[in-house]
Symmetry: C2
Subunit: 191 residues, 2 copies
DNA sequence: TCATCCGTCTAGCGATGCTAGAATCTGGAG
DNA sequence: CTCCAGATTCTAGCATCGCTAGACGGATGA
């Protein structure tokens, strides 16, 4: 009976190996380099093994994304644990942008690629829920009469827009800080 | 000598036919359906003909995107020709979102796919420049002390974020109007 | 010791973007 | 009107992609 457990343990390890390898590969050479053949090579197994763990390549990307949500939630919570609400928004925003900048491929998997992750639904995976909750609880501190959920969604959208447009070369790298400052100013004003 | 001109005219027509067909196909069945084979079928020529007009598939997508920028600029200018600055921002934002909603595939080509279009550079194509100018001149009306360029970039980012997150199912379709209202409120406040 | 079964790999399918070389058509000279 | 030269278009194929069927192998239990 013990061999059965060992088997399952090894399977779980290989599962993690696949996810971690995919992530590392994507981060170092971009998602285009993450082909099933290359990934299989990297983990030193053949392609079909991947499909015994995941339904397809999309599922692997989704698994990587899920890891990302967990990490993002941790970082956002850490950032919101500071003092006053004014700096809380700034900390939150900076933490979010830093995360996106440090893990571009991961961020892509989370917010631009994997379409099959159910976001605001009943079967939304825990890490996803947690990520949004971290944002929400941070933003709610200075909602000041405004609807916290709506406010969170808009702040999030603005940050995401800045990130994704910057990355694609649509926004000049120079004004980064000025844009963030303006955004923070606008959203701390209750009006 | 006339036949030479006719040749060139026909070439130009076929060039347009390719772009228009790619756009229509993308809009009706998504960009995944726009394969070189399918596109060649649709225009009733063989694949290599495409490559006598464009360097590759990316160049075709870029050509479609360019069309989009021209149209977007026109719509934005029309929207900003209204009266007071308060409603100008709202008109601008609604026009932008309506454009994105009515032409999802086109919008994708403009702002998420084609990476090879030089955006804020010296060799930026005219339609691109014009598109941003239309936004800028609209936003500048109510800048009210704030840096117009920075303000434009941030407003644009926020709108883009809303659009792209909504489309990917990351934001619920329900709060659409509320989010837009909140965004408008925040950005009309000068503070 | 042997048969069974689970796990893994080899080999291959259809589809992709792109291209070389054959085939065809066009236009102008004799 | 004929025929050749040059441009144009097509057929066929390459490498690569995600994915899978079926052969193969070794570990497990009788």
């Amino acid at each position: 009976m013990s061999t059965q457990q060992r088997r399952e343990r090894e399977r779980a390890q290989r599962h993690d190996l696949i996810v971690k390898t995919a992530r590392k590969l994507a981060e170092s050479e971009g998602w285009d380099a993450v082909t099933t053949r290359r990934l299989a090579d990297e983990i030193e197994y053949s392609q079909p093994v991947l499909y015994s763990h995941f339904a397809g390549k999309d599922a692997i990307v989704a698994a990587v994304a899920l890891e990302g949500f967990t990490e993002l939630a941790v970082r956002l919570r850490a950032a919101t644990r500071t003092g006053e609400p004014r700096t809380a928004l700034e900390g939150l925003a900076r933490a979010y942008m830093a995360f996106a900048e440090e893990n571009p491929a991961l961020y892509d998997a989370m917010f631009t690629m994997a379409v099959d992750l159910p976001f605001g639904q009943d079967d939304t995976p825990e890490p996803l829920r947690d990520g949004f909750q971290a944002l929400l609880s941070g933003v709610a501190q200075f909602a000041d009469g405004r609807d916290p959920a709506i406010l969170t969604e808009v702040v999030w959208s603005a940050l995401h827009g800045l990130i994704v447009l910057s990355r694609g070369g649509r926004l000049p790298a120079s004004g980064r800080e000025a844009r963030l400052r303006l955004l923070l100013d606008q959203f701390s004003a209750t009006r």
